[in-house]
Symmetry: C2
Subunit: 282 residues, 2 copies
Amino acid sequence: MRDFSNDHSALALNTATLGHNLDGFGAGWSPEQIIDACAARGMAGIVFWRREIGTRAVEIGDRVRAAGMEVVGLCRTPFLVGSDVPSDLMEDAHASIDMAAALGTPVLTIVTGGTEPGTKGIAESKKILADRVALLAPYAAERGVKLALEPLNPMFGGNRTCIYTVQDALDVCNAVDAPNVGVAVDVYHVWWDRNLAASCTAAGERIFGYHICDWLENTTHMLLDRGMMGDGVADLKAIRAAVEHAGYAGACEVEIFSAQNWWKKDPNDVLDTMVERFRSDC
Amino acid sequence: MRDFSNDHSALALNTATLGHNLDGFGAGWSPEQIIDACAARGMAGIVFWRREIGTRAVEIGDRVRAAGMEVVGLCRTPFLVGSDVPSDLMEDAHASIDMAAALGTPVLTIVTGGTEPGTKGIAESKKILADRVALLAPYAAERGVKLALEPLNPMFGGNRTCIYTVQDALDVCNAVDAPNVGVAVDVYHVWWDRNLAASCTAAGERIFGYHICDWLENTTHMLLDRGMMGDGVADLKAIRAAVEHAGYAGACEVEIFSAQNWWKKDPNDVLDTMVERFRSDC
């Protein structure tokens, strides 16, 4: 396991931590301001959301690399299953892959979408998901992009996800069986899973991303009340040990949706706290 | 699997469905009104909450049986682990067991409480939980009461539960190893679990209760937005098949926390809908 107690060179920012994924939250920093602030702190890189990139993917990717960092990932494909699949699904999914390629990031995250209309339970939605990921995988591979299936906390069942554990994500990976389809492990979603370490071992090199934050003891909102590392009950060091034991050696990406706390703070303070907590608690 | 398409003799009401567990919700029906309304509809029985019973446990239990039904269960022990364990834990836990015995119900539900202060993750809290359940089990056995550990949806991690799946509950059962310690399977909490059927088989005769409602596709509140059977995405028939395949042949208890919908309706309409949906969707 890597020793980060005096080293945050593996730390990355997901811009959701600064509130940029939702209108009216965060300080409204531009991608350029974020790049400069992360580079000044010696971070490994940044994960962006599509809405921040617009038509400037090449420009922003180059700027990140010129600042000595990497674009660690891009959020995300459209929902691939469930009621909220866009009418232009394949076109939009291809656009997300194209954007990842233009940014020069190796990883595009998939939040799957929920239960397929007209079905109940979990099995049929996972099968439809696998079929659609299988359609996208070659297009992504041709552009050097890996697809990371992110299981979500079961509270997001119904309308946001149909995979709830790393095991579930691996089921889909196994069905697709493409080398560029893997898993994103986010402690917020999977910290509670007794099978997590075993599932990470089973995932092995298919772990394409590791997302950190904390699960607050008293979570007050389903979406927007994530905690800073160290402020909650997730066993962050044990989870990182499991992920790294499986072979993961990439960035640790901080993704904190926090409308009433961290999104109200000065982004400089948020970034400084991230660095400190990464060294002490992750 | 039992055929309920023209039979609701296994249907039971958890009074939470009528909003009685929270002040200011529901129609404020007394236990007697609830007993009469359930008996009139030919239900199997009722599950009460301690706050409704007060000092009238024997009286209410007798009244249920005089109406031709059973007291199917009682909610619940105090939290046994986590920050919200009462200072008089053993005394209060014994009081809950005494009340179950006085009601003449065979099952007392345990919602475990959350992560033990000063710990992270899941393992230590489960161990403390098992130690405390082991202390209570003989006291309950002497009074003819079974203790049903109820795993909760992972969204209730931190402050309400430290067991998230039937597998987790069985871990605790196995550690305690007492014949009167088992599991309550609530579809709201476990519908998403790919291992559910296998876990139910492993649980076998240790399934002491089966709770039904539905998981709404668009759940809007962490606690109080459960759906009526048939209105959501849970595969209710498949889950009941798994529970019954494991050997469960008891009541199916409807437990719907629904502040903005079912709690605002006339309880008579709620009960009538329960009967109809039990036959058509469960």
